[in-house]
Symmetry: C2
Subunit: 367 residues, 2 copies
């Protein structure tokens, strides 16, 4: 399902193609997040027009609302949300811990109260596989326990045992011929535990690997250091997906280490907070210095928002909390991310990735 097409000489970056039942996606890639079966503030075809080939949706959220019966009855998640391309679903492990109330994790699974109505629900590795298969995702993720940061060594070690068991049960329960199931490597901030988790997950021979438990508050240097040490033990021929990372420099550094896939709510979430991505940094339109600014959000950007509106108008929309403001900033931020992964793919193929990475690092230093 994954083929590496080009590798960079100076780094471990590679460009490839991911094949799924709903078409292919070029890597390195970024998946916009459609938590509730919609990339917030965007029509589905607007997401595709920005160059995205695959989106991420969330099994936990859709399972609780509108429920599996509704999505299945409407012909599955693709038909439900009007997205014909590939979809990856998150398992729900992360959401159980971040959104569920009174969460109790046992070897059997996770028991918790729904954040929507307080009802008690139980999620097991087997049930998570069933949910993701019923949704019709092209790529499902194994159910795992994602620890908060920081977590001490004893806590991480016992979690590794649980995750090893859950991963094996996901592998056994997963019965779809067409859907791919990715394993997830955890291990907290301990290099040897990351390695142990990578080896244990790789033993189960998944067609792809998520790198979980990053971007949880740790410094970037630590992420990259651990990532490098972990990837040495993750099969080279499979796609590697760094979960929850979506800042420009963070993605570029990870690509240099051999990461192929990313997702993050960052571009869409900060848009609704009035922030626009600019180079490797960002500006917030609520700042009064933009009140009379006649320029576009980003003079170098060719997105619909930058072609059509001034910073002053965007600031007005953000200040008035107008939906159009959230939409326009989302369009811009997603365009920035799409443009970056496109430039990375091209640079890897043409042997100029190291130069692109240097440019981004230098841009970041001048922020």
């Amino acid at each position: 399902m994954f083929e590496v097409k080009a590798t960079d000489g100076g780094t471990r970056a590679r460009a490839g193609v991911l094949e799924t039942p709903h078409g292919t996606a070029d890597t390195p890639l970024f998946m916009p997040v459609a938590t509730q079966a919609t990339v917030k503030a965007m029509r589905p075809e607007q997401v595709a027009e920005l160059g995205f080939e695959i989106v991420l949706s969330n099994a936990y959220h859709l399972w609780l609302r509108p429920g599996l019966a509704v999505v299945e009855g409407l012909g599955g998640l693709h038909a439900f949300m009007g997205w014909d391309g590939p979809i990856l679903t998150d398992s729900g492990g992360y959401q159980v811990l971040s959104l569920g109330k009174d969460v109790k994790i046992t070897p059997e699974g996770a028991r918790f109260r729904s954040h929507l109505d307080g009802s008690t629900v139980f999620l097991s590795p087997e049930l998570s596989m069933e949910v993701q298969q019923d949704l019709g995702a092209d790529i499902a993720m194994a159910l795992d326990e994602c620890l908060p940061y920081p977590a001490d060594r004893a806590r991480v070690e016992s979690s590794l045992e649980l995750n090893r068991d859950w991963a094996a049960r996901c592998r056994s329960a997963h019965s779809s011929d067409t859907q791919a199931l990715f394993g997830i490597v955890q291990g907290g901030m301990f290099p040897d535990l990351r390695r142990r988790s990578a080896e244990a997950t790789a033993e189960l021979d998944f067609p792809g690997y998520g790198l979980g438990g990053f971007s949880v508050g740790e410094p970037r240097e630590l992420t990259l250091d651990l990532l490098e040490q972990t990837l040495a033990h993750v099969p080279e021929g499979a796609p590697r997906y760094l979960m929850g990372v979506g800042d420009p420099l963070g993605m570029a550094e990870a690509v240099a280490l051999g990461v192929d896939m990313f997702d993050s709510v960052l571009p869409t979430r900060i848009a609704r907070n009035g922030s626009a991505m600019l180079g490797t940094g960002r500006i917030n339109l609520r700042n009064s210095r933009f009140a009379s600014d006649e320029g576009p959000l980003d003079p170098g950007c060719s997105c619909y928002t930058c072609r059509s509106f001034t910073r002053a108008y965007l600031r007005h929309l953000v200040a008035a909390r107008e939906i159009l403001g959230f939409h326009l900033l989302t369009v811009h931020n997603l365009h920035q991310v799409s443009d970056l992964v496109y430039r990375m793919r091209r640079a890897i193929s043409s042997g100029s990735f190291s130069r692109l990475l240097s440019e981004l690092r230098s841009l970041d230093e001048h922020e």
Copy 2:
């Protein structure tokens, strides 16, 4: 600036063309409301694609935020909001009374505290003219006092005196060669006072007339009865604009009496409340009976929303309070209104308006 092109044989309905510095607009017409320089949840070109040729914006709101200096500095309201077509601005009279705090009306003008920051502001007929000219509206509205419903006869009579004076001052202060200034007929729910106001306003020889103080809570029969009596005293050659009416049957009945223009927040506001316009009525997607409904919002509708999504998906978006849901319902509701005014224009030209009106009345009875 206004030419009647066709009249209906069975009613007083007429179809015409309104000319403005930013192009023409066919009547009868509906103006989507862009209170804060954006039709809520819509890109400007999406509004145009739905067939609307003119939008309404609000002098009161833009005056307070972002302020005249900002809009003027950016080249005026058209450039600011990215709308090349005609714009009519409401004077602010209605907003002063509905949004302002501690409002004090004197012959000089209205003093009140801003709903945004509590600061004391003063709006006079002269200032309202200046604001609307500086915004660059194609059509400005005279500043008037719009009374709440019900209002007793003495209150309405004294208000008429004030409005007569303010209208004359607006006429004198209005100096633009290109911008048209419409007078506004008030008079509460008293036929003789409506007539007196119509005659006094007509004496000032405006190029167009607003019919204000309707749709403030009174029954439809009363609106239509008063409207008919009022219109007998409003110049025939000028466009007549019924302010704040946007429900399908209400518009059709008013067109039958000789009204040419409408505006209302109804289609966009109820969309954000989960309601879709259907025939002459509406449905609310929050109702659980739509949870598994595979059909489109309206099987007879050709809008983007109805072509692309199921009721079940739209209900899910509304339940999850997703921005896309508000956008999609806004698109549908505006399409419904645009389609209705288009059908009315065509019916008037082809002599079938009475039949269309009967159909709408009968549809409404079966709601």
